[in-house]
Subunit: 175 residues, 4 copies
DNA sequence: AATGAATGAGATTTCATTCAT
DNA sequence: TATGAATGAAATCTCATTCAT
């Protein structure tokens, strides 16, 4: 119903007004100020997961680099398609009360597992700490996209994607 | 005198109390709530720059990887030495009133220049977008250290440093 | 149809929901929040008056104490039969908009007249202030019954009735 | 500092304004809206207890009726001296959140014990249920005084006291 | 007639900032 | 200079009431 605001430092009145509803209506839909954020984060993350899963499925027979590229492209395209939602999910600008914020940790586990798998298969440097590498890459990716969405002269999406691919652990530390 | 708070969502009274001074005293030293943050950020950044400059100077005759390692180690050591200050400077948890926050952009220019230099010297893949690569790495580095400072079972600093070195553009995309 | 709530601090939505009707329906039947209370109070009081009148009529040839006992028993039985309604009528927990609440004053006039009659007949201490005595007894009676309805280990009704009889002005101050 | 308001249905703004302070000041002194009520109730009850204890001590060698009269007089005088405080403590017009409200139960235990003592000493009808009698009298007393404070043509305090004495269990059911 | 989503005035509460001491 | 009680604008949230269906 009401969906994508910047939601950084806004107050409930503004949120409601911006959504074209009364203050009371807001509270009819959400328990409190943070419930909206939780809701949007949950939805956004689910949407993103879907896109990434699809990308993964579609490239499962291709090269590792192609798989990485598809994943990164899916991520960037999601942000491009839903910039406001992306900001709500990944912007550190506000306060998810207790344990909500994904940030560094978002899907780090999934990437970590994938890297470990590649490592076992001999496709990734044995010396790479998969837990750290996964988190570092994810943090870099989510932050750069945040920047990209707001940059005055943003580079082309393709350029962004290509650079992320180059720095992805599975590519940068491949063997 | 008053220095290291988390300073994410705290109010002035709490800040002052925690610093052991009266609320009024706080306003005798700082114009407003954000002046403290600006002040700490400025000082913290200066301190960090000093450490990084020193590391750079000390390794200017060594290999690129050694230079990178020294830079990363300097960054991690700074965070370890001044965790609260680090959080104030790099945590996205609060609101510098417009344009203050370093985040992705911090010293990206410096790294960007260094990468461009390497590229010109033929030490870095020509296809790397130095502006993006610098920002991605910096974002990943600052965020992972934030996580590292608060992780329940943080990896050893050496491990963290090594992984960051592996993912550093100058190392990952060297030629 | 909708009848027995605690109605102390509840809001209209809850009242309507509990009554099994929509909020809108509530306002189709009552002008505002207090109209229900007024309505219930009026009905409750009428019901109670009927019971007391009946008790009075049935014992008009018996002893004063028997009359008092019948009246008190009628009161207690009414509360027992319609606890929610009783609470609405006698609970001080909410706000009848000006002048509605019976409380101390409920039927004090009737009892006052009865006491004055007894006094004229020489059956009651001449020194008793009938206006005050009537109000004190009524207040005590209505409040104790409120307590009785909610007490964790309430005494038997008979015990309650007997004690009220003992403390009734017409019994306690008889001559 | 701020002391006696009517405090029936008032809002925090009004309370603060009436006390001659800003809204914020109110919250500097009390945790929330109800804390004031709790505070006043506690103080009022303590004050009342003191008065009653004094009355009890001063009449311990006199007749039971004198003791009762002193107690009742102390109660009435307290209400007369601190009408607003009395209303806050005994008015049922608002909501002490959980377990605060004295009402029927106020000092019922003390009176109950006193009555039981008299009963053991053979000064009170054996058939009287002391628990009920104590609560009935207390309820009647507190409610009638509430009425008395607001009655358009209130009877003299002496008259009120005398009537309460006449209806007090220890007097009405003495033996 | 019945409904309940929507409303917004108003109540509660917070907090950056001031100022008398 | 240091203090913290006092302030009130602004934020969060509630709830009696309306109205389109």
């Amino acid at each position: 119903m009401l969906a994508s605001q910047g939601l950084g430092e806004v107050n409930t009145n503004t949120i409601a007004r911006a959504a074209g509803v009364g203050v009371g209506t807001f509270y009819a839909h959400f328990d409190d100020k943070f419930a909206l954020q939780r809701e949007l984060t949950t939805r956004g993350l689910a949407l993103l997961q879907d896109a990434l899963s699809l990308a993964s499925r579609e490239t499962q027979d291709q090269s590792i680099e192609q798989q990485v590229r598809a994943s990164v492209a899916g991520f960037v395209e999601f942000a491009h398609a839903h910039p406001a939602l992306y900001r709500v999910v990944f912007s550190g600008g506000e306060s998810l009360p207790r344990g909500g914020r994904p940030g560094v940790g978002f899907s780090a586990r999934a990437l970590e597992n994938r890297l470990a798998e590649l490592q076992r298969g001999g496709h990734l440097e044995a010396s790479v700490d998969t837990r750290l590498a996964a988190r570092i890459f994810n943090a870099g990716q989510s932050q750069i996209v945040l920047w990209w969405l707001e940059a005055p002269d943003p580079p082309a999406a393709a350029q962004l994607i290509e650079t992320l691919v180059q720095l992805h652990p599975a590519v940068a530390c491949r063997r």
